[in-house]
């Protein structure tokens, strides 16, 4: 191993984050979050299959303010990952890589995911 001080590429913190950097890492972060959230879905299905008593318990946990907060985050992560995933599928066709388009689609994914999350929760309260 040479002990020479080699030049290093600047660390992540040095850069002023372009929006595309944020949407890129958010896709991975929401993917990991959704994987964890899928445990909740399995738990809820298991509770429904187990019977009324256990189902009531799980509903109480998920319906608490903290449960709702987690589910709200799950909903946003789902919409974000879905829209960002569609963006990835468009990229798979070789389109949308120019800087202006990539910046615009970044903001579209962010804005769209927030909007759809709010709509979904308005529907949830309207239906129940």
């Amino acid at each position: 191993m040479a002990n020479v001080e080699r030049p290093l590429s600047p660390h992540l913190q040095i850069y002023r984050w372009p929006v595309t950097m944020a949407t890129s890492i958010l896709h991975r972060a929401t993917g990991i979050g959704l994987s964890a959230g899928t445990l909740l879905l399995a738990w809820w299905l298991l509770a429904a299959a187990a019977g009324p008593d256990y189902y009531a318990f799980v509903q109480m946990v998920l319906g608490s303010w903290f449960g709702r907060l987690v589910l709200f985050g799950f909903t946003w992560a789902l919409f974000y990952h879905m829209l960002s995933g569609i963006r990835h599928l468009v990229w798979d066709t070789g389109r949308g890589f120019t800087l202006p388009v990539a910046n615009r689609s970044s903001w579209l994914v962010i804005g769209g995911s927030v909007l759809l999350t709010v709509i979904a929760w308005i529907l949830a309260y309207a239906w129940n």
Binding site: G31, S35, T38, A42, L46, Y55, N128
Partner: protein
């Protein structure tokens, strides 16, 4: 596939085929297949769950007697666990560089996917058959 005079690629690149993992583009392709499947499946599940959000047990049990919801739920469970297995594999391979730890992590994710996915699928089936 083109190997005209213009191409810088040698035919060996194609001929040797499937690469070091012997799976070729299988991982990449199945990630896309499950992703496309999950757009309608996840949306349908979300709508169903939003409608059932405040429902009591009897209402939920009755809803899953509907074969349409049952099959959508089963397919969604299959696609989502498949998709997250592929995704978490990439994350692990990117960040875990110790060979032993990496293999153990990949095994753990794979087993967890089968166990939890199996529980979810069995729960849907039990609700559907009303057993």
């Amino acid at each position: 596939m083109s190997n005209t005079k213009d191409s810088m690629r040698s035919p060996l690149k194609s001929v040797r085929g499937l690469g070091s993992a012997k799976e070729g583009v299988q991982h990449w392709w199945m990630q896309r297949v499950t992703a496309i499947a999950l757009v309608p499946l996840a949306l349908a599940m979300l709508v169903a769950l939003l409608k059932l959000a405040g429902a009591d047990h009897a209402t939920v049990a009755a809803a899953f007697r509907n074969p349409l919801l049952a099959i959508v739920a089963l397919l969604a469970v299959l696609a989502v666990f498949w998709h997250l297995r592929l995704g978490l594999q990439v994350v692990i391979e990117d960040y875990v560089h110790t060979e032993g730890t990496k293999v153990v992590a990949l095994l753990a994710v794979t087993f967890a996917v089968f166990v939890v996915g199996g529980i979810a699928a069995l729960s849907v089936l039990k609700l559907f058959f009303g057993a």
